[in-house]
Point group: D2
Chain length 395, copies 4
């Protein structure tokens, strides 16, 4: 089947910063390596600044631009809206897009509050009735090593889960001189490390274990409460200018959790772990085996098979680049690793495949809401002397 | 100075299981590699079973035996009592020995309760007035990589501590068929993973940071509540026999903590982490650098120096076998690593050195009490919906 | 500058197997992340099978196709010919293309013999006089960690090079049942592991050290001399069918070498290292420091700085994802690693940049010839009882 | 059985530097952890300097001293002579001791020349006829991870061996200012890195594979030909004084080899690998699996099982501290690692066990001679343009 013979999937994307760049690469690349049932078209890019969005569209390969997201979602030539804006606008855009009959891919976290996330999940459920689909962008699920880990858990290779330890460690604001950004303002970002990176490890551990968190006990901390206002803005960096701004979100979040199957969990999300750049570390110990992953070595999964005789038992360093591994056969020969952006390409593959099949892509907005409820419980526990706080709706 | 010209230090040791074997090796070995100011003599070994203690004394190199610990501590030819029994007897023996004017080295945890530990610390303080010394055996402080880490922290190489994450992961009872042992009975062991191995990481992190824990939020769990009674007994293993016994201690403990300087901490102690054998993992992130250690690779310390330019910054894998490293110059050339037992030898070295100098060896009973208070707060928090629980006496 | 305002660079690519796919991705992706002075156009794809090349062009994004490479290189709308065919056709195509005034990017190894490579280098030198450029595709030079290593060597950070150890370990034909392929036939591939993967480590070590190999002593081996003929063909794999074919190339090559600055070197290239998938391992020890790299962990460079005090000296695990690192600032935030294909994108970037500047891109055909001479000396030494064999033209 | 009821094995040891210290610790420690059939007694220590040997005997635990090795080997109260002197005296002492009816343990390398080694092996064969035994001290065979590797090879777990790569990397004279020592003088040490550390990897790879090297191609190098004479002497270090001495041995040796079963091998022994302290790295790839070991992480063996499905195949990091592992059950619980000196203790265990059983301990002097013949072939190849040089007596 040639690409021309595949039905198009016309995409309108809103936002073109870090996430917009990653999504664009995925939309462009997925059909080059995978046999997609639909042919993605980079139809229109949305952004408030006309010059900025035009330059980005040219750079990133989008055919047209809009400066008003409402116009973008109403366009007849848009089948799917891809939301890459900060969290404070997710709910409004996503709900409007779904009501306009457009499929939606929304970056994580789903929203800045449980109330918004509930409204979004409700809108998604309503839209699903007429075949309109919504998906939230927890792309780390699509790292092949992570997908392999989930497969091994599902196959029972580690047995009953007893321990989950999850860390998301960064250091990009460890320096008190690092400037303010929207990610440090509560009204834009909703929360700090908790929602930005903690959300990922909450989703990943629920995905890997196939279980849900039922309660948490938490502490939040803001180590640096005032920072220089930025002289210029960058993706995650920038340079400090004159004046100081107030950091209104957490710098770090630590919490204990309990999974629905009884496992104990520890979570830590911080932007203050000097020397750790994007260390998503997850280890799961079960009654029959263990799994360990670190995104700083993203093409590797460590697996301990408890059924192996003690003489030769040990964590196996699986280089997850074999054709037998999830997503890998479309890419390169064994040992030729993938990078960060490939998770986004796999996200497009799974989304497009589900849309063509008329099925619900995962993670759904309901999955995103589940994460939001955990984040909310974390904040409430932290505000109430770390008291154990059940997760609403979990079981 | 020949060995004969050094004053003797006549040791009476009580208990000859796992810890007794390790202590014996240390007493025998320390004077062969270090210039000790006193000459340790393995004078007498105590144990209840006459045949057992005699065989052990022969094997381990002790000159004489006693079957009643009270007689042992009263002997005129004993200068120091080394207590290697389970925790339920520590307080009684240690206090009696101190009152009998004997120096005491007591295995960890100091005691099975805060009340006992307080009495022991009081007895130690009283004894110190007359030059009688007490020390608790947190030997992991004497792993060269750990001692180097503490030195780097003290020198300010990592700045202000912001994060501590500590895990002590084992798997020796992950199998529900693993039999009962005294370590699984509350009246003998006091607690389970918490006191046995969690105590180590509480002490280590307080030692490394030079700070104290001021509060905790905790969850404890017993995954397997009934186990086969042992057909035979072994150090940590054994084989199951007929009948079942009740596990009355925790299998795993997870807790959050706050250090006196403001750092956030996560702790996890478990015997159910399949594939992890004795993984004491500690990472400390500060404002100027980070340190990471794993006892499964015990001759290595990882150090991130935040003052290094980004181009060449990275965690350094320091092979801690150079003459410049703590304790190492007495041993082998660079790259020729040490093992588990060397920590005990270093403990003897530090203890003997302090005794000869008339100084307080560390960790003191007060340090052991501080750990006990943390363990107690952990248990109270776990029993009270993980509510944040301040550590008594911490500041 | 918008993309439309940049002069086009119209590319004709010949071959669309493994390398063709990688090159296509690079041509498509480079302008999306880098500010290229020229705008690459995927003008025409060449391949002998009309249906095959048409399907590939559709999949890979090429606007047109040719089934005769001679027609492709004569097209007026082609500025650069990208040669992704097996090595036996490199010389003929590359020389013809250069004589037709087209820039050439030729996959490695440059040729199947020194004679061919000499002719190619001569043609390249002649073409350069009229501004037509030729480059050979040793892409691993453009892995950021490798480029950083070369920079550190050039800056003198490791001092005088004393040892080079280089291994390229794969295992894709370790199984004697793995079928025949053109890569196992001497008349198509020139040599086996030696030219296919050994060529990479010869080039990489010459690139990293900035020195040339002056002599070698070698052994070649073919472990499995007959293999099943393939029932179907695949990139590197396939399934065995009926009948047996003869393997006429080496399965493995090991050789000693001496670099122009006096360093000793060991080289090993094999397709029989079970469990090693694409392990390009290079370690360089100098008088002032050391560097180590393994492509199976491609975003990391290990650097030992000999000027560091012994107390804190150790190999630094540099996660080569900082904006300060080569090529990285165009991509993602720190810690978000790149993959195999990014080296090809960087190759396009460097090639296009050099073309626009009227400069010679590297590695040149002369560099490719230098590698070919080493491979030739390896074969001659192996055929002459491993006798030390000087490299022609090296100094 | 009490220690008193075991027959004694009265040891006379000659030499008390680095190796003498290690051997003493082994003689003292072995009976404390293993049920030895004989009871080692540290009867007499030999050394030329009366004061030095007396101090050493006191420190190391030897009951008596001799300043003339000839007197030591003639003593009636000596059953076994343990030779820890530099290689130039091995032959004379060992042959005399064997002829005096004493068992001999001789440090490696067996001798400084093939002729000496042949005479020693002949003397050992002659002595064996009357039950007198000789063993050479390649202790790295007794690192549990190495012994486990040999066991797995013998069990066929890696199939037919195809590749051996062995490196012994140190850096203690990488600095040109490091002073002279006897290890850098040909008449005392025989050779440099080749005999000192290269001998170990020759023996280890022959031991691990159960095969012998049949030929080599080699290059030797002395990077620093003049060094300061030592102001003081130390084990391996010391400080430079006035005047310069000539280094008459190799600083580094690299060679290719072929094993009797057809495997290709690369060897590298150097004291100039900055940052590598005692990195004995051995990897063996077979038709069914692979093994990898690095002494800098000595309690770990990496094993790739080629029979594992690709989905979960990977090198297993076996922490070699389980009771099922060689030598380990005598020591500590799982995860509590051993150190450098334990190999010497295991050597004593195996030697004493063989003596009591009237069996030949391994490695024998014939094994030591086999290593010496490889070293000799390496030197001859290096002196003859690296020409392939068969190993005398190998098959």
């Amino acid at each position: 089947m040639t690409s021309a013979s595949r039905p198009p999937l016309r995409v309108g994307m809103i936002g073109y910063a870090f996430m917009g760049v990653a999504h664009s690469q995925a939309w462009r690349t997925a059909p080059r390596f995978f046999d997609l049932p639909l042919r993605p078209e980079l139809t229109v890019l949305g952004g408030r600044d006309a010059a900025g969005v035009a330059a980005a569209a040219d750079r990133l390969g989008w055919a047209d631009t809009e400066t008003d997201w409402r116009r973008l979602i109403e366009r007849d030539d848009v089948d799917l809206v891809d939301i890459c804006t900060p969290g404070d606008s997710h709910a409004e855009i996503a709900i409007a897009a779904l009501r306009a009959g457009k499929h939606v891919l929304c970056e994580k976290p789903l929203a800045n509050s449980v109330a918004e996330a509930e409204a979004m999940a409700a809108a998604a459920a309503e839209a699903a009735a007429s075949g309109v689909r919504a998906m939230v962008g927890f792309t780390y699920r699509r790292v092949p090593a992570v997908a392999l880990a989930a497969r091994l858990v599902a196959e029972g290779r580690i047995g009953q889960v007893r321990h989950v330890r999850a860390q998301y460690l960064q250091d990009w604001i460890a320096d008190p001189a690092a400037p303010m950004s929207w990610r440090l303002e509560k009204d834009k970002a909703g929360s700090g490390a908790l929602g930005d990176i903690g959300a990922h490890i909450v989703d990943l551990t629920q995905f890997l274990t196939g279980e849900t968190l039922t309660g948490v006990s938490a502490v939040l901390e803001t180590f640096v409460r005032k920072r220089p206002l930025p002289a210029s803005t960058g993706a995650l960096g920038g340079v400090g200018g004159e004046g100081m701004g107030e950091v209104t979100v957490d710098d770090a979040a630590v919490f204990l959790g309990r999974f629905s199957g009884g496992a104990l969990a520890t979570f830590e999300a911080t932007r203050f772990a000097l020397g750790r750049k994007n260390a998503i570390r997850i280890e799961v110990n079960g009654s029959a085996g263990s799994l360990a992953f670190d995104f700083e070595d993203m093409n590797v999964l460590h697996f301990f098979d408890g059924s192996e005789p003690a003489e030769t038992a040990g964590f196996r360093r699986i280089v997850v680049t074999e054709p037998e591994h999830p997503y890998v056969s479309a890419w390169w020969p064994a040992g030729h690793g993938l990078g960060y952006e490939h998770g986004f390409t796999h996200q497009v593959v799974d989304l497009v495949t589900a849309l063509a099949a008329g099925e619900q892509p995962t993670p759904s907005f309901a999955d995103g809401l589940a994460v939001q409820r955990v984040l909310d419980a974390v904040e409430r526990s932290a505000a109430d002397r770390s008291t154990w706080t059940p997760i609403e709706g979990a079981h």
